[in-house]
Amino acid sequence: MTTQSPPSLPISARFLVGVLRFPGTNCDFDTFEAIRNVPGLEPVWIGHIETDLAGMDALILPGGFSYGDYLRTGAVAAQAPVIDAVRSFARDGKPVLGICNGFQILVEARILPGVLLVNTSRSFICEEAPLVVQNNCTPFTSLLSEGNRLSLPIAHQEGRYYLPDKDLKELERRGQVVFRYLQNPNGSANAIAGISNPEGNVVGLMPHPERRSRSTAPGTGGFLIFESLLFSLLHPSAIPSGPAGQSLSPA
C-alpha cells in the first residue's frame, strides 16, 4: 500500500452553507463558487422570501447591491422576509458571515452593531486592502491568529464603519473588532474593516474574501476565511470562546 489517505477530513463531512440572494445581489455566484471550492462545504441558494433555514450549518450574505440600493444601502434587504430567520439562526449561535453589502444588511437589521456611512472620499473605492486579523475567536478566523496579515480587495461606496465613541470603546474592549485596515481607505472608525457580534458567531466585513479564493486570483487570502469556517464546523470545541464581557447589544 503506497497510497496515502487524506488525513484531515472525514469523508462524510458535508456542511450546508446557505448563500442568501436578494433581488439585485451580484456577488452571489462568486460566493457560491468560493464555498464550492472548499471540499466539505456545500453551498445552497437561499431566496429572499425563505423563512425556513433548517438544515443549514452556516449562512453567508454575499456582497454587491440589493434591490438596487437606491435607498440607504442594505435598508430594503433588512426588511426582507428571510431576515427574521437569519436573526434567529444567529441567536442559535450558528455561523453567519456578511460580506460588503451583506455586512451593510446585517447592521441595518441590527444583527451587528454600528452603521456603514459613505466613504470619506464620497466615491466608490475598488482596490486592494491589506488587513490585520484582530480576533481569531470567530468561526471565520479560526485558522488565523491575532496579528496575521492578509490582503483582500474592497469595492464599496458605503464602508465607513461608525459607532459613537462610548460604544466604540466597548466594542474594542470586548474584542469584537475582527479585521482592521493597515491603511484606512474609507475613514472607518479605528480603521475597522470587520466586526463580530458579542458572541462571535456573526461576522461582517467590508472586504471581499470570495475574490481571493481562486488560484488564478491576485492573492488567495480569501481561502483562509472559508477554510476556517470548515475547520470551525468540524471542530467546534477547538475555537477559543468568543469575545469575553457583557454583550453590546445593538441599539
Partner: protein
Amino acid sequence: MKTASTFRIPPEEMNMIRDLLGKDPTLTEEAVFSAMWSEHCSYKSSRVHLRAFSSRHPRVVSGPGENAGIVHLRDGLCLAFKMESHNHPSYLEPFQGAATGVGGILRDIIAMGARPIAVANSLVFGSLRHPFHRTLFRRVVEGIAGYGNPIGVPTVGGEIWFDDRYQDNILVNVLAMGVVEDRSIMTAKAPREGLLAIYIGNRTGRDGVSGAAMASRGFSSESGDLRPQVQIADPYAGKNLMEATLEIARRRLAEAVQDMGAAGITSSSTEMAGRAGLGMEIDVEKVPLREFSMEPWEILLSESQERMLVLADPKNVEPIRDIATRWHLSSDIIGHTITEPHFIVRNGQRVVADIPIAFLTDDAPLYTRPSTTLPSSPDRHPFPPSFSGTHSLSDLFRKMLESPNGGDPRWIYRHFDFEVQTRTVLGPGHDASVLDLKDRKGSAVALSVVSLPHACSRDPFRGGRLSVAKAVTELAAVGAFPLGMTDCLNFGNPENPAIMGTFQDAVRGIASAGIALDIPVVSGNVSLYNETNGKSIPPTPMIGMTGLLSSVRNRIGGRVAGPGFRLALVGRMGPLDLGGSYLDWILGEDSPGPVPDFDAGALNSLVTFMSAASMHGRISASRAIGRGGLIRSLLLFLDGDPAHGVFMELDEPVDPVKFFFSEAPGRLLLAYRPEEEFPLSDMALETGVPFKPIGYSASHRWMIRYRNVDLQRKEWTESLHDLKNRYRTSLSQYMEELP
C-alpha cells in the same frame, strides 16, 4: 401642404418621404421616419464607406447587422462584443448619459443571449483646467460606475485623453463583451410571420424621446435645454432584465430578441421584421406606460431604458411572461409579425401609421457625401523633426508626466468594481485586461481598447492603422493573439467635406490594417455630428480588440515584480517616427515627422513569439511601448512598488529622442529571470523577432546610460521618488480638491 417638419427632418428628405408614400405622412409616420432616417439609425453618411471593413473570418459566428458581433472561442463557446458611443447625452447630463451608455451596450450583448463578463471604456474630455470639464469627467466616471457596479459586470479597462479640441464635445465610448454557448445564441431577425412581439422590462416614459435624432445633430447655442432627450438609467431593473433575457435565451423560448435602444420600439420592431422581409403590427395601447396620456409618437420614440422586445411563438408567451414577472418586470404582448412587409402602428382600433418597412431601411437616404482628403503622411510632413536639442530628455519626460494625459489613471478605475464575477486576472493598469472564462480548459480572453486622438488628427489613415497595430501589440503583451475587433468612429459634421475626408481615411486605415493582419471587424458604431457651433472634433476612431490566451495561467502581467529582473526590448525597432506621438502633442510643433506605420509580418511574428514564450512561462512581465514611448512605458512597468527602479545600459548608439519617445507599435518591454535570457533570445531568433537586452530592474534608482549618434557617452539619472510622485498625482490632483 409643405410645412417644416415637426421632427426636424431636412426639407429634401421630407420631399423624399412624400414621394415614397405618395401623400403627406401622418404625425406618427413622420416621427417614425425622423428616427429611422436619423444618422444614428440609418448610418446614411457612413454606410457606403463601412463596406471597406471585412468581417470574413472562419472564427466569425455573427458579424455586423446583429445586436453585437460574435466570434468562436473553442468547443462551442463564443464571445460577443461591441462598442458604442454615448457622446451627446453624456455632455448634456454626464452621469445619466454615461450610465445609460453602459446599460445600452450591455443590452446589445444580452440580446445575443450572452452573459456580459466585462465592460471597458474610452473617454475624451476637454482640459481639466476648466472646472466644467472636471465636473463632466467626474460625473461620467461616476455614471459608468453607477451602472456597471450595481449590475455586477466588471469595468476592466479603458483609455483617457484630455485635449482642448474636445472642449465642446466630449467622447464617451463603452465596450461590452459576453460569453455564450453557440446553441444559446439569439438573433435579431424574425424567422417567420405570426410571432408575437412581447415587451418586457421597465415601463415606457417620456425620457429620451427622440434621443437618436438629437444625437444626429451638432450642438448649437440655440439648442436650448436638451436634457429631456437624455435617458435615465435603472441598473436594478437592468440586472433583472439581464437575468430574465438570459433565462429566456437559455430555455430557447424566443425566436428573436432586440434591445429597445436608440429609437426604442420603432427601431427594434422594424429592424427585426425588416431583416427577414416581414412586417410588424404594433398596438401602442398595449405598451406598459409609466405616464398616462402619452401620444403614439412619444411611445414609439421613447428611449426609456431597460426594455427588450422578444419575438416568440404563441405557445411560449406564458413562460416568457412568467419569467418577466419573477424578475419584477412589466410585460405585455404589443404586436405580431405579419407577411405584408409593412410597419403598422395602431392605437387601439385606429391605424396611426402604415409604412412599408423598406421605406424606412432600404430606401432610407444613403449619402456619398463630398469629401476632400489631404495628402498622406510622409508628404504632408516633409521636414525632419526639430525637437532634439532644444529640451533635455529629462525636461521632456517631466512635461509628459505633468499633464494628466501622462498621469496615473488610478483615480478613474478605483471608482469601478473591476473584480466582480472573479474573472479579472489582469485588470486596469495592464496593457490589456485578461478574463478567466472558468471553463475546464482554463481558457481566458483578453481585451484591449485603443484610441490615438493625436495621431489620428495628424494623419487619420495612419492613425487608424496605428490604432489597430497598437491593440495587437497590447494583446501580445499579455500573451494573447487577436480574435476580432469592434470600433467606434467619432467624427464631426459629415456635411463638411474635410471631415468626411478624414472619416474615409480613418476607415481605410482601420480596414487595411484589419485585412493585413487578418482580424475581422465584427461590430461597430458611428458617431457623427460631434460639433458645436460649427466646430467639429478632430477625427477620433476608437478600437476595441479581443484576444485569446493559450491558458489563463499563461497570462503575462504588466508590472515588474522587483529588482534583479533582466529587461529587454522585443519587436521591430524602426523607423521610430514621432508624428502624432504624445511628445508631438506636448510640443505642438508644426512638422513633427510622419505618423509611424507598422509591418504586418513583423507584428504577427511578435504575437507568435509572445504566445510561445508565455506557454513556457519564460516572461515575468511585459509592457507594450505606448503613450510617451519607451521611457513612460518603462515607468509604468516599474509601477508595482515605489522602490522599483531601473539600470539601463545601451551599447548601440541611439537617436535619444526617437529611441525614448517614439510610439511606433509592435515593440514590447520584457522582464525575465536571468536564466531565461538564452532560451528567450533563441526563441526570438527562431520567430524572427529582434530581441535586445537593455538592462535590469533595480531598487531605488533611475539610471540610463547610452551613446548618442555622435557616439558620446550620456547618462540620464532621475530622482525615482520625484518621477513616481509626478506620475501618481498629475491626474488625481485635479480631482481630489473638488467639494
